[in-house]
């Protein structure tokens, strides 16, 4: 194993020099003496499992957190730390993992705010705001309605806004903390191109991602974190994803493609011409035991809306749903759950978890009935047993059921929500973007669990943006666009060599099969 | 009629309860409707001077911070628990304090009220002290007003609250008097308006009343806020068509009387009421009577009437223009 410093690609000056950073959060050592150097004109990728300290590193450099010890300097100028303004003044810009946008402010204002603050503006002119916004958006090559509030913009576009906000400043060091989680292939391409351009301009860029192919594409050097320590710096051109994965996780990770092995072909779930005006149209679909049906498409293609309808939260206007051959009208989540449908919601923070509560409370929340003794009376013992069961089945790293979930890493949080659904032993499990922001290791474990469930006869609907994810897990796939199903692929298509690539182009350019338009809705 | 009281052994029991290590002093606690407003600050002056006049008595005032019967009950309960010898109460709601006062008496505490004639003669209190007869006070309030109106025209009234026993007693007595003597005066609202003793409510009521009844000839306010704010609005509008009368304080009514915006105002001195109530309480604790004709040691109460459990003085204080030299108001 090579642990030596990667040779700098250019002779440029050191833009960012972070030395011996230590940070502890109430007992959790998030960073243990990490040193990172990035040169101007270099793209340094930071990878590591969930909770390995990547975001913490970013937040320390950008002044959100003050390090317990260690120093940061930007272009030779030392920062006192703990003050975002100081870092921004020194040229540090960050696209945060959680985007850090203002829901109630308009797109234009969200983009321009950064600039206006640091230009020392006192009186705001709306025209100036729009001008800044328009300029930066043009740079990224995206058009957005400038006057709508961020809360009404799709997550992908929010990510764009966050990127633009960072670009609106003349940054010298740019951090991108998982900037592509919600972007589809097309937008990712564009972003990576921008990264390359910025690099040419002499910026030092720190790029964080769990998607190793992206990393391999842009990185000059790769820094691997594990458990708050740095494993090492590697020159990107001497590495492949396998090696990186090994450094990150300490073991090999392989995705076994899923092959359905059930022989009962009677569908458990059938959708027939399901329609909800303005959301989706004429959706027909069937799921058999052991199926993992991939549903993919651009953001706003109506996938989540269909899922919500099946979960009783978005009543369909017309069409039918049959479960085990019986027509049903699903009007509430409880009813959906009684019918054997479970849903992993899209946003684990807002819809999935009670962030301030313990893992056991989060797990029992969906099936309080199962942890009661006498009618309506909770049993702490059963609750804990259930939590232990889920935690061990999902392989959550922190085995203490009393841990506050807000303190778990993203991957482990996701395991908790998924496990909660699994423990209900549903007939149909709808997983809406189950691995967003989840690291490779955890991803593989999640895939393994999903496949195990399907093998036991559960029907799974897997909504995902990532062709690789679909390819690795699904035996059937539908591609949606603009609220309609535009393509259906069966097990033979999926088994084909070039499936992931084909799917990728189907998603990005659904025009191949329909005359649809690529404007994102909802 | 010999209006002697003391039918209960309250006096004696009170003295017994007094043995608790307070140097043999008689402890009297006066509970006002609310602490901190000028009326009851003036009353406290009366209590304090009573305390100073009587060596063997420790009299004090303690009350709630808002005019809420519930809080007043709590204060009384705390006094009972401290085992004082006598409690004097100016109730926000006589009905509401009745049970707790009864409990006080059962514990051998002497109970005297002020402004609560409804409780007179009940098990709840020993005696009620009134500065005057409420009926007379009401007639006194309305008579000069009717006169000033020339015996005709529209009249509107405003009270502190419709639930205030004394305010309604004055208002109704006044109405009866008008009905009898001035048939040409028309009372335009079914019920008097209400200001909840809030100056801002009284103020906007005044504005609205003047707009809604452009021909108004007379206004009577039984609360201090009502009269003062009505006069203030008349002054602001330069409106000299409306005669006004009601309850007020010297310091508030004084300037308006001088300038003619208030036609007639009357009151009684809360210090006197406080002093005399404590006096009555002391007498009862000492096992002595209060009887018609007694002099209770304060102006206006030098020849009281005791009837049906009510000790009435003759302490109506008519406020007149130029009565006090500038700024020298007693309260």
């Amino acid at each position: 194993m090579q642990d030596d410093e990667a040779e700098p690609t250019t002779g440029e000056a050191i833009a960012l020099d972070a030395a011996d950073l230590e940070k502890t959060f109430g007992g959790v050592r998030a960073l243990r003496g990490v040193s990172v150097q990035v040169r101007a004109g270099e793209v340094a990728c930071l990878i590591g499992e969930n909770g390995s300290g990547k975001s913490t590193f970013v937040k320390i450099v950008s002044g959100v957190h003050r390090p317990d010890s260690g120093t940061v300097s930007v272009h030779g100028q030392p920062l006192a730390g703990g003050d975002p303004r100081e870092a921004i003044a020194a040229g540090v810009q960050v696209i945060y993992q959680d985007l850090a946008l203002f829901d109630d402010l308009s797109v234009a204002e969200n983009i321009a705010m950064n600039r206006l603050i640091h230009d020392g503006t006192r009186v705001v002119r709306r025209s100036r705001m729009r001008e800044i916004a328009r300029e930066t958006l043009a740079r990224v090559g995206v058009e957005l309605d400038l006057d709508v509030p961020i809360s009404s913009v799709s997550f992908a576009n929010r990510q764009i806004v966050a990127i633009c906000r960072a670009l609106s400043m003349n940054a010298r060091v740019l951090f991108m903390d998982e900037p592509t989680t919600a972007l589809t292939t097309k937008e990712v391409r564009r972003l990576l191109r921008i990264v390359a351009e910025l690099k040419e301009l002499g910026l030092a860029i720190v790029f964080i991602s769990h998607k190793l192919d992206e990393v391999m594409e842009v990185a000059d050097s790769v820094t691997v974190f594990r458990d708050g320590s740095k494993v090492g710096d590697f020159a990107a051109d001497q590495m492949d994803t396998g090696q990186l994965t090994y450094h990150m996780t300490g073991h090999e990770v392989v995705h076994e493609p899923y092959v359905r092995s059930q022989d009962d072909d009677t569908p458990i779930l059938e959708l027939d011409e399901l329609t909800r005006a303005g959301h989706y149209e004429n959706i027909s679909l069937s799921v058999r035991p052991g199926d993992i049906v991939g549903v993919t498409g651009l953001l706003g293609s109506g996938r989540t809306e269909v899922a919500l309808s099946l979960f009783g939260l978005n009543p369909a206007d017309s069409g039918t749903v049959r479960i085990d051959g019986k027509q049903v009208e699903i009007t509430s989540p409880i009813m959906a759950m009684k019918l054997g449908i479970a849903l992993l919601p899209e946003s684990r923070q807002e819809q999935g978890l009670f962030m301030g509560y313990s893992a056991e409370r989060n797990i029992s929340a969906a099936q309080l009935d199962r942890v009661t003794t006498a009618p309506g009376i909770l049993s702490t013992r059963r609750e804990r047993e259930l939590a232990r069961e889920v935690i061990s089945f999902m392989g959550v790293n922190n085995r203490e059921p009393r841990t506050v979930v807000g303190n778990l890493s993203g991957g482990n949080q996701q395991k908790i929500v998924i496990g909660r659904g699994v423990s209900m032993s549903p007939k149909i499990y709808i997983l809406d973007s189950p691995t967003v922001g989840v690291d490779i290791g955890a991803k593989a474990e999640i895939y393994a669990r999903i496949q195990a469930m399907a093998r036991d006869g559960m029907g799974v609907i897997l909504i995902s943006d990532e062709p690789e994810e679909i390819a690795a897990n699904c035996n059937r796939v539908v591609v949606m666009h603009d609220g309609r199903i535009v393509e259906r692929l069966d097990s033979d298509d999926v088994a084909a060599e070039d499936f992931a690539d084909r799917l990728g182009s189907l998603i990005t350019d659904p025009g191949q099969t329909s005359e649809g338009h690529t404007e994102a809705r909802l | 009629a010999c209006g002697s009281v003391g039918e209960s052994g309250g006096g004696a029991a009170g003295s017994d309860g007094n043995g608790g290590g307070d140097g043999g002093q008689i402890e009297i606690g006066l509970v006002p409707k609310v602490e901190g407003i000028s009326w009851f600050q003036r009353m406290e002056e009366g209590v304090t001077s009573f305390d100073e006049d009587h060596e063997d008595v420790s009299a004090f005032q303690t009350g709630p911070d808002s005019e809420d019967a519930a809080k007043q009950v709590a204060v009384i309960e705390d006094l009972i628990a401290q085992n004082v010898d006598a409690i004097v109460v100016v109730p926000n709601d006589p009905q509401a304090v009745a049970p707790v006062l009864e409990r006080a008496r059962n514990n051998g505490i002497v109970v005297v009220t002020h402004e609560a004639p409804a409780l007179a003669g009940t098990e709840s209190i020993d005696l009620d002290v009134e500065a005057f007869s409420n009926q007379e006070f009401g007639e006194q309030m309305f008579a000069p007003l009717a006169e000033a109106m020339g015996g005709e025209g529209q009249l509107v009234g405003e009270v502190g609250s419709l639930t205030s026993e004394t305010h309604m007693a004055w208002y109704n007595a006044g109405l009866d008097y008008i009905e009898e003597n001035y048939p040409d005066i028309e009372v335009v609202s079914d019920q008097p308006y209400e200001d909840n003793n809030s100056d801002s409510t009284a103020r906007s009521n005044a504005q609205e009343i003047l707009r809604a009844y452009p021909d108004l000839a007379g206004f009577v306010g039984t609360s201090v806020s009502a009269l003062a704010n009505f006069a203030a609005i008349l002054e602001e509008q330069g409106n000299t068509d409306v005669a006004t009368s009601g309850l007020s304080l010297p310091s508030i009514a004084g300037p308006y009387l001088d300038d003619g915006w208030i036609t007639h105002a009357q009151t009684w001195d809360p210090a006197g009421a406080g002093y005399v109530s404590c006096y009555v309480a002391m007498q009862l604790v000492n096992g002595e009577d209060v009887a018609t004709g007694d002099d209770l040691g304060y102006e206006g109460y030098d020849d009281v009437t005791v009837e049906d459990g009510i000790v009435s003085g003759n302490a109506t204080m008519l406020l007149e223009s130029g009565q006090f030299s500038d700024g020298e108001y007693p309260f």
Binding site: V64, P84, R85, V94, Y96, A100, L101, F102, D103, D104, L105, E109, M113, L116, I117, H118, T121, R122, V123, V124, R125, V148, P149, S151, S152, L313, E350, Q351, F354 | G36, I37, S38, Q41, D65, S66, L162, S189, D190, Q191, Y193, E194, S198, D199, R203, S204, E208, I209, R211, A212, A228, N229, A232, E236, S251, I252, G254, P255, D326, G327, Y329
Partner: protein, 341 residues
């Protein structure tokens, strides 16, 4: 922050206008109804009266708006108002300098400082604003009562400059009364507040902080400075209101005014300002005040018996809230917003 997704419809701006439009319609209809029942209501003088008596509440509402937009709640502004005004009055009486400017200066200084103290406590200890202001309201007023007493001053005892200030009119129409200088003061501060909130970076920072405080601090917005301004400004407006209040009543009663804070808060919330921050306009807040003032001050014109006051007021308020929120609920459902309240 556990408060999850709130309203996510497309027409945010349109919807905000919606609240204002809705309020305006309700106000007009209500005025028409009262006017029909009692034509005397439709007089320019009535308008003058209402503007004057609503002026104080409007000033408070501007402060409350600012606090709410920043994501906080303040229930101490009435306490600050009366405490500041009382300190101002007592200063004038103690020094014998009967000057409006002195009183105003002392009052707004005290008010601003008390507001600033709120901000310091809130910021330094990361405490919920409701709790802090509940505590300080009690403490400020209690401290005043303990240190200065609660003596009230009548028209002749209080500084005469205040009495005169209360009756200054900027426009008089014989027979219909006059337009109080208070209206000009409120208009000035309404425009100022609008300008600060909408047109300055400070104001935009207030919205940003109310929308997402964590993000705001990461962008380098000075959270402390923003909060310091918000609470100080509210204290300032409160103090000004306090002085106007005692001037108007020509009576200085240091135990009044307290207890009306919830109504002011309600007025502002009815005006479409969001309780959890980030959303709200000056126009909305002022319309909310107008609506509530109308409800409480038309009973005489309607000839309603005082006993029916609250029943009437409560029903009308509730009815308008039901209409307003039921529509929003339906919209939210379609937009897949899942919060119940």
């Amino acid at each position: 922050m556990s408060t999850a997704t709130v309203s996510t419809t497309r027409g945010w701006i349109r919807r905000l206008r919606g609240v204002e439009l809705y309020l305006a319609v309700v106000i007009v209809v209500y005025i028409a109804v009262v006017g029909i029942v009692n034509p005397l209501f439709l007089d320019i003088g009535t308008l003058f009266d209402m503007l004057r008596s609503g002026a104080g509440v409007a000033l408070l509402a501007l402060g409350v708006l600012t606090v709410l937009v920043s994501g906080g709640i303040d229930v101490s502004f009435t306490a600050i108002a009366i405490v500041s005004a009382y300190v101002g009055v007592r200063t004038a009486l103690a020094t014998g300098i009967d000057n409006l400017w002195l009183i105003l200066f002392v009052a707004v200084t005290v008010g601003t400082l008390l507001g600033a103290l709120n901000a310091v406590i809130i910021y330094a200890f990361r405490l919920p604003t409701l709790i802090v202001t509940l505590g300080t309201a009690s403490a400020y007023h209690g401290a005043m009562a303990v240190l200065l007493g609660t003596t009230s001053y009548s028209r002749v005892q209080m500084p005469q400059s205040l009495v005169e200030f209360g009756v200054v009119d900027i426009l008089r129409i014989p027979g219909h009364g006059g337009l109080s200088v208070y209206v000009a003061i409120v208009a000035f501060f309404a425009v100022l507040t609008w300008f600060i909130l909408q047109r300055t970076m400070l104001g935009r920072s207030i919205y940003a902080v109310g929308s997402n405080e964590e993000s705001a601090s990461r962008l380098g917005i000075n959270i402390f400075a923003t909060k310091l301004f918000v609470y100080s400004y509210t204290g300032f407006l409160g103090a000004l209101m306090g002085v106007m209040y005692v001037s108007q009543l020509k009576y200085v009663n240091p135990v009044s005014l307290i207890g009306t804070e919830l109504l002011v808060l309600a007025a502002v919330l009815v005006g479409g300002v969001r309780l959890t921050g980030g959303v709200g306009t000056v126009l909305g807040a002022l319309l909310g005040v107008v609506l509530l003032r109308l409800f409480v001050s038309t009973l005489v014109f309607l000839g309603l018996d005082s006993n029916w006051n609250d029943l009437f007021f409560g029903s009308v308020l509730l009815a308008s809230l039901i209409v307003m929120y039921y529509r929003q609920r339906a919209r939210n459902r379609r937009a897949l917003v899942f919060a119940t309240t």
